[in-house]
Symmetry: D2
Subunit: 308 residues, 4 copies
C-alpha cells in the first residue's frame, strides 16, 4: 500500500460575517491581510506570502461561521482519484465551475457537516506594479501594515464526533498527528495534516455538527507574534487569549475575535512533522495539551471545556 497523496495543501477558507466591511477592515488594518478583489457579497483576501489568488474569503451572512474549506489536490490526476474516492463515500455533492481564483472544484460535506471542496487549477497571485518583491521567490513585497501575517496556516472546526471525522480524513490521506482524549478515553480532538505542518486542520468535539472554531495565520517568528499582541491592543482591539504556547503542536499562539464574531488565531513556532507514521501522539486532557507552560488546564477531565 502507498499513501494516496490526494491533497497538497489547505488552499483557502471561507468565513461568514454579519459585518463584512468591519471584518475586512480589521483583517486588513490590524492583521495586514491584502485584498485581491471583491465580487457579490464576498471579499477575497490573502496574506502577503500566500501565492494563490486568495486564502481567505469573507462572505456576508446573517451570522458568523464557516462558509467552506478549500483543499488543493496534489495534481490533476490526484484530483480525479480523490473525486472517485469521495463519490464512493456518498458524501460527494458534485462539481462546481469554480470560483474567483480557482477552476472547477468538487464539493463534499464531511461527516461533521463542513462544506469542503477540492480543485487543482488555480490562479497564481500576480503582484500589481508597486507591490512586486525584489526577490523572485516572494509573491509580493513583505507587508508591514499591522501584524503583517505571512501565510494561512490551518483551520479548526467543531464537530459532534471527532472519531468519525478523523477516520474520514485519514481515508483522504490526511495524517493523524496528535489527538486529545478525555481521562475516560473519549476522543475529543484530532490534529491532522496533508503537509509537514503540525496540522492543516483540527477537530474538536463540541457535541454538534458544522461548527467553526478558528482560522489561523502564521508569522515568521515568535518575536513577531509578541509584537503582534501589542499591535492588536494599540489598534484598540482585545486579545481573546494568549500569547501562550500549546503543548499539542508546540505553536506559540494568540486568539482574537474579529468584529464579525469569528475567532482568528495567530501562530508561530509550531514543529514540523516529516515522517508519515510519526503520529498519533495521544494526550489525556489531564496532561494539559492546550497549554505547555501554565498549570491552568482549559479542559475538565471529561474533555469538556471550562470556558466555551
Amino acid at each position: 500500500m502507498v499513501n494516496p497523496h490526494f491533497l497538497s495543501q489547505l488552499a483557502h477558507v471561507e468565513l461568514l460575517s454579519p459585518k463584512p466591511e468591519e471584518t475586512v477592515n480589521y483583517l486588513k488594518e490590524v492583521w495586514g491581510l491584502e485584498e485581491t478583489t471583491r465580487r457579490g457579497q464576498s471579499v477575497y483576501l490573502r496574506a502577503w506570502g500566500d501565492y494563490f489568488h486568495h486564502s481567505l474569503k469573507i462572505t456576508e451572512a446573517a451570522g458568523p461561521g464557516l462558509g467552506h474549506i478549500g483543499w488543493r489536490a496534489d495534481s490533476e490526476g490526484a484530483l480525479q482519484n480523490v473525486v472517485q474516492h469521495l463519490e464512493r463515500t456518498e458524501l460527494g455533492k458534485g462539481w462546481i465551475e469554480g470560483d474567483l481564483g480557482h477552476g472547477k472544484a468538487y464539493q463534499f460535506i464531511t461527516p461533521g457537516g463542513h462544506l469542503s471542496e477540492v480543485f487543482w487549477d488555480v490562479e497564481w497571485y500576480q503582484a500589481p506594479e508597486g507591490k512586486e518583491s525584489v526577490w523572485k521567490n516572494r509573491p509580493q513585497k513583505q507587508v508591514r501594515r499591522g501584524i503583517g501575517v505571512r501565510r494561512l496556516d490551518h483551520v479548526t472546526v467543531l464537530t459532534d464526533n471527532t472519531t468519525v471525522d478523523r477516520l474520514f480524513y485519514q481515508d483522504l490521506g490526511i495524517r493523524y498527528n496528535e489527538g486529545i482524549y478525555s481521562d475516560f478515553g473519549d476522543e475529543i480532538g484530532a490534529w491532522m495534516s496533508v503537509s509537514n505542518l503540525s496540522h492543516d486542520i483540527a477537530f474538536i468535539n463540541a457535541g454538534f455538527k458544522g461548527g467553526f472554531h478558528h482560522v489561523c495565520f502564521a508569522v515568521e517568528s515568535r518575536e513577531e507574534l509578541l509584537n503582534a499582541a501589542d499591535t492588536i491592543r494599540e489598534h484598540g482591539f482585545e486579545i481573546e487569549s494568549g500569547p501562550g504556547k500549546h503543548a499539542v503542536a508546540e505553536g506559540l499562539n494568540l486568539y482574537a475575535i474579529e468584529p464579525g464574531g469569528n475567532r482568528i488565531e495567530l501562530y508561530a513556532g509550531a514543529h514540523l512533522v516529516f515522517a508519515p507514521d510519526w503520529g498519533p501522539k495521544k494526550w489525556k486532557v489531564s496532561e494539559n495539551p492546550n497549554d505547555a507552560w501554565s498549570s491552568f488546564n482549559l479542559f475538565n477531565p471529561d474533555g469538556s471545556l471550562k470556558y466555551s
Copy 2:
C-alpha cells in the same frame, strides 16, 4: 499523472572525518548534537528534535567528505516502487541489510556520483531515563548545550552537471523549487525538496563528481541563530561566513568548518513551499541569489564562485 511520492524525508547523512573524535566532540559540545551510539569506525548522532536513531553518522576516513545520503521512503509500498524505478535507471547498486537505526536499504549512485540509499523500516529514538521530554510530541528533552540545534535540515553537494542530477532527482519525485543560472544561461545550482522545506538537497556545479558542500541543521528561530554565532566564537572556533541571509530559500544562515574539515551550516527562517508546482524560481547569478542583504555577490557572471 500523479506525483510518485516515493520519498518522505531526508533521514540522515554520513560524513567522513580524518579526526573523528574532534569532529564528534565539536558537534556535541558546540552544536549540541546528541550521541546515540558508536560502532566500528562510526559515531551516530542526532539533534534533539530528530526522532529517528540518528541523522548524522561520522565515519573515520583519510579525509573529509560525504559518506552517503539516506532517504526514507514514503511507505513500504513506496519503497518497492522507488526501487523498481531505480533499477530501470541502471544506477541502482542493490540491497544492503541496513545499518544501526534502519532496516534493509536499497543503494544507488546518483549521476553526480553521490552514494545514496532509501529504506522504510526505521528505529525510532527512545530517550533514556533522564532525557525524556515532559511533552509527548518531543523525542527527548530540549538540549541547551552549545547551540542546541533542533533537527537535520538539508544536504548540499557538488556535482559536474547540475542539470543531469536535477533531472534524475525530479524523476524521483523531488520537486525543483529554485535554480541558479549563469548570466549566460548555464545551470549552476538546483534547490530541491521532497518535503515542504525550501530544500532537502541542493546541487552546485563545481566541475567534478561526488563533491560535498555542507550538511545543515536548523534551530527554531533566527534569534537562536544569532546567539549561536556567539556560542561558536565563545568556544574558540571560527565562523566561516554569516550570519547572513540567502535570497534563494530565504534562510538565515551561518557556515562553520568542523575540525575534520567538513562544512556545517546552521539555518533558521527559510520559507516553506506547499504547492508541488510552485517552482522553479530561476535566478541569474547577477541577481545575487546567495545574499539577500549584501551588495557583495559571491558569484562571477559565469557562475563560478569568487571564493572556493
Copy 3:
C-alpha cells in the same frame, strides 16, 4: 538643585532559603547562574554578564525571604554623601566591614523594614581559566546552561506603606517612574530606578513590613525568555505565571518559585527611561497595569490582589 546621584546600581540581593542546596542547584542548573564561592551558610552567585563578584547571595535560614539589598554608590565621594544623608534620616545602622566581593558598607533599614546597604569598593569578577570570554567586554564566556540568564535586573519588595517608602527612596535620588493606585486613589505600588532600567526596585503594598516579592534576572531577548519557559518545564519544574507582558515597564516576564520558596522573575524587553523627569506615570488598577495583553486583571478595584 541638582540630582544627588548617590547610587549607581543595584549590585546584589541576599535571599534566605530553608533548603539552600536545592535553591542553589535550581538556580545553577535551570537558570544558569554561576557560583563564585561559598562561605559559612552562604553561597555567592552571579549571572554570566554580571561583572561584580556576586549579584545574588543565598543564605541558609528557617524560611524564605529577603536577607538584604546591596546598592553600589556612584563614587567614593557619593558614598560619603549618601551616608551623611542616611545618618540624618535616623534609619542608618552604621558601617560594616564588608562581605566577600565588596568593601566596607553602610547599613540602613528602610521605612518598609528592608535591610539595605551601600558601598563603593567592589571586587570585579575575574573569570578563571576556561571561562574567559573571547571578547574583552564580557566578564566571562556566555553561559548556555539552562536558561543562561545574563544579568541581575531588579528586586521587588512588599511594604506596609508604599508612599512612605517611595518618598524615602526619592530622597535617595531614586527616580519614581511608574505608580499603581487603587481606583479610590490609594497608592499601591511604585516602580523606581537609579539607572536607565524601567526599575531597579519596586514596592507593592501588602499591609505588612519587610516582605519580599521577587528578584528578577534578565535575558537578552524575548525569544530567549520563551525558550526559557520550555527549559523550566523540561527540567521538571513549574512556571508560576507567564510568559506575559506587564503594561507597567513593558517587560515580558515569567515567574517561578525556587525550591526554597522564593519567587524569581525572568525578564526581557522592558523599556529604558533616560529623562530624570519622565515619571511618574500613574496607573489605576482598573487600567490593568499588571497585564498588557490579557483582559484578566490581577487587582481588585481597591488595589488588593486577587491571588496572593
Copy 4:
C-alpha cells in the same frame, strides 16, 4: 570627588541634507520615523518611542553632514553647572533662545569641531488624536510603518584627534566605556556614554575635524533588525553593510545611506553598562573590535580603515 552628572541624555541630532524631501520621505516610509513639524528649511522627526518633540532634525544644506548635537542637562541646576564648566574651557559659544521643542540652550564647539548644545527645558511630545497609545507609558502608539524604529540611540562622529575629544567629554562627565587603538598604540576610537547605553556618542579618528559618521536608531529586538533588512531592500534601497555584530558594545547593526548622503545605523541588542568605572575596555584593531563574528577585519594594523 563625585561624578558631575551634568547631562542626562542625547536628546537630538541635526543632519544636513542636499535633498531634504527625499531624506525625510525615506526616513518616514522606510525607517518609520514620525514627523512632528516643519519650519523654515528644517523638518523635525522622532521615533515613536522618543518622548521629546524631536530626536532628529533634517535641515536643507549644500551637502550632507552634521548640523549639531543636542544634549539634555540632568536638571536646571546641572545646566548652570555645565555652562560654568564650558565657559572655563573657552569652547563655549554662548546661549541661544532655543529651538522648536526646547528652551534656551548653551552652544559649544568640541575640540573635534562639532557644534553642540545643552539645555534643560523641553517640550514633551503630545500624541494627537488617533496616535495615542493604549498604554500611558508610551508617548504614542507603536508605529509599524516600515522598520518602525523605537528610539534614537547614539551618534558617531569623525575627528582629527580622538584623545583630545575623549578627554574633553570625560571632563563633561561622559564615561569612557570602550576604546580602539592601533596595533602601535595610537588611539583610534572612543565609545562614551552619559546613560547606561553602551554609548551615546562615539569618536573615530579620520584625520580631520568636524566629520560625521552616522546617527543610530534602535529597535526593540534583534529579530526586528533582521526583518528591517528585508524592509529596506523591499523598498528598493540598499543596505550599506550588515546585519552584523560589533564586538565593541555588542550591538547587532546595519548601516544604510539615506538619499541625502548621510549614514544611518540600526541597532539592537547592545549591552548596558551600570558601573561608572566599568571602562575603558581597550581593543587593539588586530582584535577585530568592529566585527564579533567575521574574520574579516575592517581596520589595517595602523588603525586606518580598509574602506572609507
